[in-house]
């Protein structure tokens, strides 16, 4: 099992990581880190280089240049020590079809240096944690549903109590109930293990992760806490207003509160009610007084709401900007 070694600053560290296939650059100059016990979402559009990065970090692929380390151990120079601290669940979670779940996990436990006496206990524990005991333990892996196969993959990742868990699309193909189960399981690892998780379900990542790393075309475009990225990438607040007042009336009130406001009419519904969009700097104090000002001005107002900018908006904003812009930022 993972040895108790002094805790490093970064559980996972990628420094100027680059991978080239001939002239094709899969990832370039990628630098990021995951702190011990932290859950980090690793995001990017298809073909951005997420799986390549994860494979290099897991030691199943060699990078062209740069340095990857797990719990302070270089993946290239000291792969066995790095692997001892790490578990990796690849995309599509390949499993042998002709083994029973319990047999497979017992084999993996032995291969992951779990002490012989503890193998049975560890297998039972992870099977309980992943809800595999009742419905899957005695069955052949080839007969399991996608959801249970994913659970087997995650159970395998947790077997040796690693310091670092790398999960490539762990919730792909699962139904909402199963996603909820996996989400709770990953959440329960916070503080115990560093988790690097790639997913296309951004809502999922937002719910589970402490931090996100976003890459595009093999380059890092953003990293940090969701709130910090929101401030950096989406500096404006957007309000949606439903009112019978004219564009000029609304604009006048908004500009009175914040000179940098921008008001646009975005639609009209029955009875003369119109939809407006007001954009202003998110640091502006007018954000808090806008609704009151509109009411005070006696404008007919039915609805006012600030648009919530989720991880999806951050992701789109981050992947839209070029790496040069990111460096300037």
């Amino acid at each position: 099992m993972a040895e108790s070694s002094p805790q490093p600053k970064a559980a996972v560290a990628a420094e100027s990581l680059t991978k080239r296939y001939g002239n094709l650059v899969a990832i370039e100059d990628l630098t990021f880190s995951v702190a011990p016990g932290e859950i980090v979402g690793f995001l990017g559009p298809n073909g951005a280089g997420k799986s390549t990065t994860m494979r290099i970090l897991s030691g199943t692929m060699a990078g062209t240049s740069g340095r990857a380390s797990i719990w302070g151990e270089s993946v290239a120079l000291n792969p066995t020590a790095a692997k001892r601290h790490m578990a990796y669940m690849p995309e599509n979670n390949p499993l042998p079809e002709d083994l029973k779940v319990e047999e497979y996990l017992s084999l993996r436990a032995r291969l992951k240096d779990v002490e012989s006496k503890q193998v049975a206990d560890r297998v039972r524990k992870v099977m309980e944690d992943c809800d595999l005991v009742r419905r899957a333990s005695g069955r052949l892996i080839g007969q399991l549903s996608k959801g249970f196969r994913q659970r087997v993959g995650i159970a395998d990742a947790l077997l040796a109590k690693p310091k670092v868990v790398i999960l490539d699309e762990p919730t792909i193909g699962l139904d909402p109930h199963q996603i909820l189960g996996i989400r709770d399981l990953i959440r329960s690892l916070r503080g115990e293990m560093a988790v690097l998780i790639s997913s296309h379900i951004l809502h999922e990542v937002e719910q589970v992760c402490d931090k996100v790393v976003i890459i595009n075309r093999g380059r890092l475009v953003a990293q940090g806490k969701t709130e910090d990225l929101r401030r950096e990438l989406l500096p404006d607040s957007v309000f949606h207003i439903l009112s019978r007042a004219s564009l000029n009336e609304i604009s006048a009130v908004c500009l009175q509160n914040e000179k940098l406001s921008l008001v646009e009419k975005i639609g009209e519904i029955e009875g003369g009610w119109c939809r407006y969009q007001v954009t202003m700097p998110s640091q502006s104090p007018a954000r808090e007084t806008l609704a009151g000002s509109l009411i005070q001005a006696g404008l007919p107002l039915r609805e006012i709401a600030e648009q919530h900018c989720g991880l999806e908006d951050i992701f789109i904003a981050a992947t839209r900007r070029s790496p040069q812009e990111r460096n300037r930022a």
């Binding site: 030691g59 199943t60 692997k83 790490m86 990796y88 390949p94 042998p96 002709d98 032995r110 291969l111």
Partner: protein, 253 residues
């Protein structure tokens, strides 16, 4: 060679439970049984310069080409196709341990197939032979032939493992193994039938050619001659193939 024993045990267990290995075993015993049967029939019709056991071993290349590729083709190609090989490489097991475990498991299976052939001549002898009559087969030929199969099998299985490392397709791996083994066996047979000794301009080939005479090795083993040269050839060839297999697995992943 971290985790070699765990991997070997797993491979042997998998080999036992794989239906294709049972199909290969059935094919092997049918093939070798038929060869042995026809050899006995030939001997019963007229005196022959060989015994049925000798005849069976002289045709060892037939099961070698038809059955051995079936044993080794899935070892890496199938794991790579399913993606389970990369999952295996995320553990602390070394690539060398993985290659050697698969090799030893396939070699043991190959030897077990030939051991399963043993009852054929033994039962025939028990039923038909007259004491001290060796027309059905000399025990020395039988055990010598088996020794040859075990020693040459090291290289043959290693070639199969190497071919399986080179592709994701088990069928292509089997085809590659078949062609390589055919080349190796035919080269040995062809060199043996060439009158190299009489060609002065090919004198330099005499020494290396002597090493490749596969059927000559079989005869040496069967007559109890333990020549170190074929032993070195098969063992160094095995190490070379397995070393290349380790490089292929690490390079391709």
């Amino acid at each position: 060679m971290h985790h070699f024993r765990t991997l070997l045990w797993h491979e042997l267990r998998t080999a036992f439970f794989t239906w294709s290995n049972w199909a290969a075993a059935a094919l092997f015993l049918t093939l070798v049984g038929a060869i042995h049967w026809f050899a006995i029939l030939e001997c019963s019709r007229a005196p022959q310069p060989w015994t049925p056991v000798e005849a069976t071993f002289r045709l060892f290349w037939l099961p070698l080409l038809c059955v051995l590729p079936l044993l080794t083709m899935r070892s890496f190609a199938e794991e790579r196709r399913q993606g389970t090989l990369s999952a295996l490489l995320t553990t602390t097991a070394s690539t060398a341990a993985i290659v050697w475990a698969k090799f030893i498991s396939a070699w043991i299976t190959w030897v077990v197939f030939w051991l399963a052939f043993l009852p054929f001549p033994l039962l025939t002898e028990a039923r038909l032979a007259i004491p001290s009559d060796t027309r059905l087969g000399d025990p020395a030929t039988l055990w010598g032939g088996l020794c040859f199969i075990m020693v040459s099998g090291l290289l043959h299985v290693a070639i199969g493992i190497l071919c399986s490392c080179l592709t994701r397709s088990a069928t292509l791996a089997a085809l590659l193994t078949f062609i390589t083994l055919l080349g190796l066996t035919a080269a040995g047979g062809a060199i043996e039938s060439l009158p190299i000794e009489s060609w002065t301009w090919l004198g330099w080939l005499r020494e290396p050619a002597a090493h490749l005479r596969t059927f000559g090795h079989l005869e040496d083993f069967a007559s109890g001659i333990l020549d170190s040269r074929p032993l070195i050839l098969y063992i160094t060839g095995t190490f070379l193939c397995l070393g290349l297999s380790v490089i292929a697995v690490e390079g391709k992943e």
